[in-house]
């Protein structure tokens, strides 16, 4: 009868075509009819009531609003006929509203049914609670349902419903579900004969155990033994619960999930049994399939993937982790797309386990192939994720190159994420920062629109903080800008970098100041306002860097399109910069437009962005913390990017006695950002012990030989910045200690230590700083320096403080070097060689032949010699490829004339450096210091 009505309605809708109007007309007629029946004088019998309520439901499900019939539905709940009750409950479940009057009536009916001892009615009532799950219902039944659940005489099917009903109430109103005796009895449902009951109970226990792990601890051994019985059963043992020859796949999955609420079992017997289960599951994956049906393999693999999740969760059995990885490796080439997808996804987490990271890496070619050939974008996305997760120093160049080439054709939806990932990997694993700069410029070229501000800000920060890459960066952006059409982001990066470091390439006539300016200005009119504003700042910096282009730039600033620009910001910049260039003296210009100071190192803003994009609890976080853990495993000298684990790593070469003896080693590969020398030693607890200098600090030290300002040291707690000036034999150094945390540093004591050899030659004077450094605050310490006589060693700065409960102890070499007391001396070719000959005594000359450690760039070399402190003498050496310099070292007792000559051999990538001074020790020291710079 009902079916006929629906059929009629449906047919008539079909017959009437898609006319919405006709449908509404037909429905309204029916609604009017039902309304009149409900309001009629004659009381409706149960059957009619059910019929009309059901019609209302049908109409509602067709997409029409229903605003009456609730009362009739509630009336049906108290019927004794199943069909009437069922329609009543269905109406309530689908069309519930929080009309308090009705809720009271509904709850009353539910209460009666729960007490009816009729399993069918109890089931309907429980399903209604589980569907609605409102707070009112929790208040009314949260105390009652546990009793139903654990009562001895409750039917199995009612137990199943009661368990899940309770779960629903616990999710909506955990405060209303009282824990009590019933919890232990619920745990024992894992042993129930009826696997349906176990299935429902496992869900309930899992959710409860997440919140109250202690209370449900006993579930672990019960779950293990239940799981063990299932996985070892023959495929026919479980009869009803065997699905395509797989015994109880869903229950197995749920039990494995429950076990993921806990660490590996402590009891060795339980643990052994669980390991056996997991091995059995892995073994079964290798057995020939019992059926060709996809249902068989899906059910089997559902269990397998959940087992692998548990293995990863425990992260304690290397053997199982590697086996899991091999199994997933097979799936990577499976013909089922689903399996390839899931294998990529699952491997992503395996990549972050120290035990399986290497095993995952062996699949790199397959994953790269997936990136190129998979048809489903979501599979390619997983391949990108996996490449990102398996990336380390050994394979970074290959992975970054593959991601870049994929980016050319990547789906628009995932481009931005790939850009972020490439940028992070390039920074994290850059051994050679020229590679980093190339990679980022490639990113901009390939996917400029998807390169967010964070990415291009970051490349500028890094170039500014790393002077070994500045010349290369300037040259590279200059070349990239020559492309006829380049992305606006490139113009921004190019403008900024040339404005800071254009001077490093200005010596080459192909990139003379005027050519640089014209190149940038040719892009100006095509750019948006913010970019144009940036370019105007570049121009004024050019005025400072290159006085020869000042008139050209002033002309541009003076033009109407600038001075009268409709945009306020542009107009203001043009006016101010023009004025500045006209009135300011060279000195003032140089001060105002000084090179940007290094940026403080914080967590990479790009990483922050990726995390934000991915949500707080995704692979990225996990992967990051794990990656740090695996540093030792990978062997390579990994940088410590914002790591927390590095804090607890004791310095491997804790040689306290060798403290002062560390000579400034030749600059090796530059430490990655934020790396610096990590010297925190949390294990030494005695305040009198000075922390050893850790490897890496020499690199930072070497960077200060040719410059005076920058970040000397940084870890996750503390940043030390320097600013210093020297004149003749005197100097002054400002040390800035920045507390990067939000917590106070207590007993903060920096100490300057000069060895016995150094003490008579170098006078350092300073005042103690405030022992408390507030979170986020920076304190400054001034050191007055006097050079009494020439010296070789460097003083050590030791800092001790308390952070939280731990004692921190950091030592760094303070970059006060002999060359700081250089005064440049200009001289003509003739004078130079005359003096050169005068210093021909073998004790006066020191020579060093060494391999270039940085790109051999003329402009960079010049800048370094000037930074070293000597005058750079042009047109002195008959060979124009050579560099010569001269200067005087001022000490309190004497002045020492120094001549130097640097001969590059481009073909062999070698240098020969010769130092001649009147004192052997000075020649020796200066030669050491300068050799480390190239």
């Amino acid at each position: 009868m009902l079916v006929q009505f629906f059929q009629r309605t449906h047919d008539s809708l079909l017959l009437l075509g898609k006319s919405k109007e006709a449908e509404i007309k037909r429905i309204n007629k029916e609604l009017a009819n039902i309304r009149s029946k409900f309001k009629g004088d004659k009381a409706l019998d149960g059957y009619s009531k059910k019929k009309y309520v059901c019609k209302l439901l049908f109409i509602f499900l067709l997409g029409h609003d229903i605003d009456f019939g609730h009362m009739e539905a509630v009336n049906l709940l108290s019927s004794n006929r199943y069909t009437e009750k069922q329609i009543g409950y269905l109406f309530i479940s689908v069309l519930v509203n929080s009309n308090s009057e009705l809720i009271r009536l509904i709850n009353n009916a539910i209460k009666n049914d729960l007490a009816s001892r009729n399993p069918t009615f109890m089931g309907l009532a429980l399903h209604c609670i589980a569907s609605v799950g409102s707070r009112e219902m929790a208040e009314a039944f949260a105390g009652e349902i546990p009793k139903v659940l654990v009562a001895g005489d409750t039917m199995d099917s009612v137990k199943q419903s009661a368990a899940l009903c309770l779960l629903r109430l616990y999710r909506t109103s955990p405060d209303l579900v009282p824990m009590g005796d019933w919890t232990s009895r619920v745990v024992h449902l894992l042993n129930d004969q009826h696997l349906g009951v176990v299935t429902a109970a496992t869900s309930l226990i899992t959710t409860l155990a997440q919140k109250n792990p202690e209370e449900f601890k006993t579930s672990v051994s019960l779950a293990v033994s239940r799981l063990s019985r299932i996985v070892t059963s023959a495929s026919t043992d479980l009869q009803d619960y065997t699905y395509y020859f797989v015994p109880a796949p869903w229950l197995s999955v749920k039990l494995l999930r429950l076990l993921q609420c806990y660490p590996p079992p402590e009891d060795p017997a339980v643990r052994g049994r669980l390991t056996e289960c997991l091995e059995t599951i892995l073994n079964k994956a290798q057995e020939p399939p019992k059926s060709k049906k996809v249902q068989h393999s899906n059910a089997k693999n559902a269990v397998l993937f959940e087992a692998i999740s548990l293995i990863i969760h425990h992260d304690s059995e290397p053997n199982l982790l590697v086996r899991a990885c091999n199994q997933l490796g097979q799936f990577l080439q499976h013909r089922e797309t689903n399996l390839r997808y899931l294998a990529l996804e699952s491997m992503c987490t395996l990549a972050s386990s120290e035990f399986s990271h290497e095993a995952v890496k062996t699949h790199i070619e397959t994953v790269i192939n997936a990136l190129k050939t998979e048809r489903d974008v979501s599979v390619r996305q997983r391949a990108v994720d996996l490449l990102y997760a398996m990336c380390d120093r050994s394979n970074a160049p290959q992975i970054v190159a593959e991601m870049l080439s994929y980016l050319e054709t990547a789906d628009y939806s995932i481009r931005e994420e790939i850009v972020l990932k490439v940028a992070i990997l390039a920074e994290k694993y850059a051994v050679d920062y020229t590679w980093y700069v190339d990679t980022i410029l490639n990113l901009i070229r390939i996917a400029g629109d998807y390169v967010s501000e964070e990415v291009w800000y970051r490349v500028i920060q890094i170039v500014i903080n790393r002077d070994d890459v500045q010349g290369y960066a300037a040259k590279t952006v200059f070349e990239a800008l020559q492309a006829p059409a380049c992305h606006e982001n490139l113009v921004k990066v190019g403008g900024y970098i040339l404005g800071e470091f254009g001077n490093l390439i200005a010596g080459d006539p192909r990139s003379s100041p005027l050519i640089q300016f014209n190149l940038l200005h040719s892009k100006f009119h095509l750019c948006s306002v913010p970019t144009r504003a940036l370019l105007l700042s570049t121009y004024i910096k050019f005025v400072n860097l290159f006085p020869e282009v000042k008139p050209t730039i002033q002309d541009v600033l003076r033009s109407d399109s600038q001075l009268r620009n409709a945009d306020v910001e542009l107009q203001q910049r043009a006016v101010e910069y023009l004025r500045l260039s006209t009135v300011a003296s060279t000195d003032i210009l140089a001060t105002v437009l000084e090179e940007m100071p290094p940026f403080p190192e914080r967590e990479s803003s790009i990483l922050a962005k990726l995390k934000k994009k991915k949500g707080p609890s995704t692979v990225t976080d996990l992967e990051d913390t794990k990656r740090e853990r695996s540093v030792d495993v990978n062997g390579g000298p990994e940088p410590a990017p914002a790591s927390t684990s590095a804090m607890s790593t004791p310095s491997p070469s804790a040689d306290l006695l060798g403290l002062g003896a560390a000579p400034p080693a030749p600059a090796g590969p530059p430490p990655s950002s934020g790396g610096g020398g990590l010297l925190v030693d949390v294990f030494s607890d005695s305040a009198s012990v000075v922390a050893p200098l850790a490897p890496g600090s020499e690199d930072n030290f070497a960077r200060f030989v040719c410059k005076n300002n920058g970040v000397l040291f940084e870890n996750q707690l503390l940043q030390i910045g320097l600013k210093s000036e020297f004149r003749q034999n005197l100097g002054r150094m400002f040390i800035f200690y920045g507390n990067k945390t939000s917590t106070q540093f207590l007993n903060f004591t920096p100490t300057l230590i000069c060895s016995d050899d150094l003490q008579p030659n170098l006078n350092l004077q300073t005042k103690p700083v405030d022992p408390t450094v507030e979170g986020g605050a920076q304190v400054q310490q001034v050191v007055n320096i006097e050079c009494v006589s020439d010296f070789t060693e460097a003083p050590v700065l030791n800092i001790q403080f308390r952070y939280g409960g731990t004692f921190q102890n950091v030592s760094v070499q303070l970059p006060i070097t002999l060359n700081k007391f250089f005064q440049p001396t200009e001289m003509a070719s003739q004078d130079f060689f005359q003096r050169w000959k005068q210093l021909s005594n073998p004790q006066q000359e020191v020579q060093n032949i060494f391999k270039a450690k940085h790109p051999m760039d003329t402009e960079v070399t010049k800048a370094k010699i000037i930074g070293f402190g000597s005058a750079l003498l042009e047109e002195v050496d008959p060979n124009p490829a050579n560099f010569v310099g001269a200067g005087i070292i001022h000490t309190k007792t004497t002045q020492i004339g120094c001549l130097l000559r640097l001969e590059p051999n481009l073909q062999a990538q070698m240098y020969r450096l010769t130092l001649r001074t009147s004192k052997e020790a000075v020649s020796q020291r200066l030669c050491e210091l300068l050799s480390a710079q190239f």
Binding site: L90, A200, R257, A299, N301, N338, D376, G615
Partner: protein
């Protein structure tokens, strides 16, 4: 605003569970919607449209999984009908994929070769089947024999 709400709900809940089950035809007509989270009617309508949009563009070479807001949809197509289950991103894809198939086999047995119209005209029975197999967003019963036995028992009461 709706988007945000869903996101918040996702964060608040830690348990893994089905968020909703949808059966839609290719034209986007809903043949069954079972919600395990509180949504208002507008939200429900929006979700229904979005699921239809993401699922129907995929072909047989694609996976049976698709990311959906902060969740994922596990789906399988049977003739003109899409059976979709929305779960947490960490949940077991294949377990739910086969749960769908298990459900479809029960429907097929119960309605003797089920077709779209069976679901339309017997909607109140379909809800009963769903409740037997899935409750409170969890898998309740997986044995086809047990479910069918219970369904036949209930039918005998009509």
């Amino acid at each position: 605003m709706r988007l945000k709400r869903l996101g918040e709900l996702c964060k608040r809940r830690e348990g893994l569970e089905i968020r909703f089950i949808l059966i839609q035809n290719r034209a986007g007509k809903t043949r069954l919607a079972k919600w395990y989270m509180q949504f208002d009617d507008d939200e429900k309508q929006k979700l229904i449209e979005e699921v239809h949009a993401v699922v129907t563009v995929r072909d047989a070479k694609h996976t049976n999984f698709v990311e959906f807001r902060n969740f994922k949809i596990i789906y399988r197509r049977y003739a003109g009908l899409y059976f979709c289950i929305c779960v947490d991103v960490n949940d077991n894809n294949l377990a739910y994929l086969e749960a769908i198939h298990n459900f479809v086999e029960v429907l097929n047995e119960y309605f003797h070769n089920v077709c779209e119209l069976d679901l339309v005209f017997n909607f109140y029975k379909v809800y009963t089947v769903v409740d037997e197999m899935f409750l409170a967003g969890e898998i309740r019963e997986t044995s086809q024999t047990k479910v069918l036995k219970q369904l036949l028992m209930l039918q005998s009461l009509e």
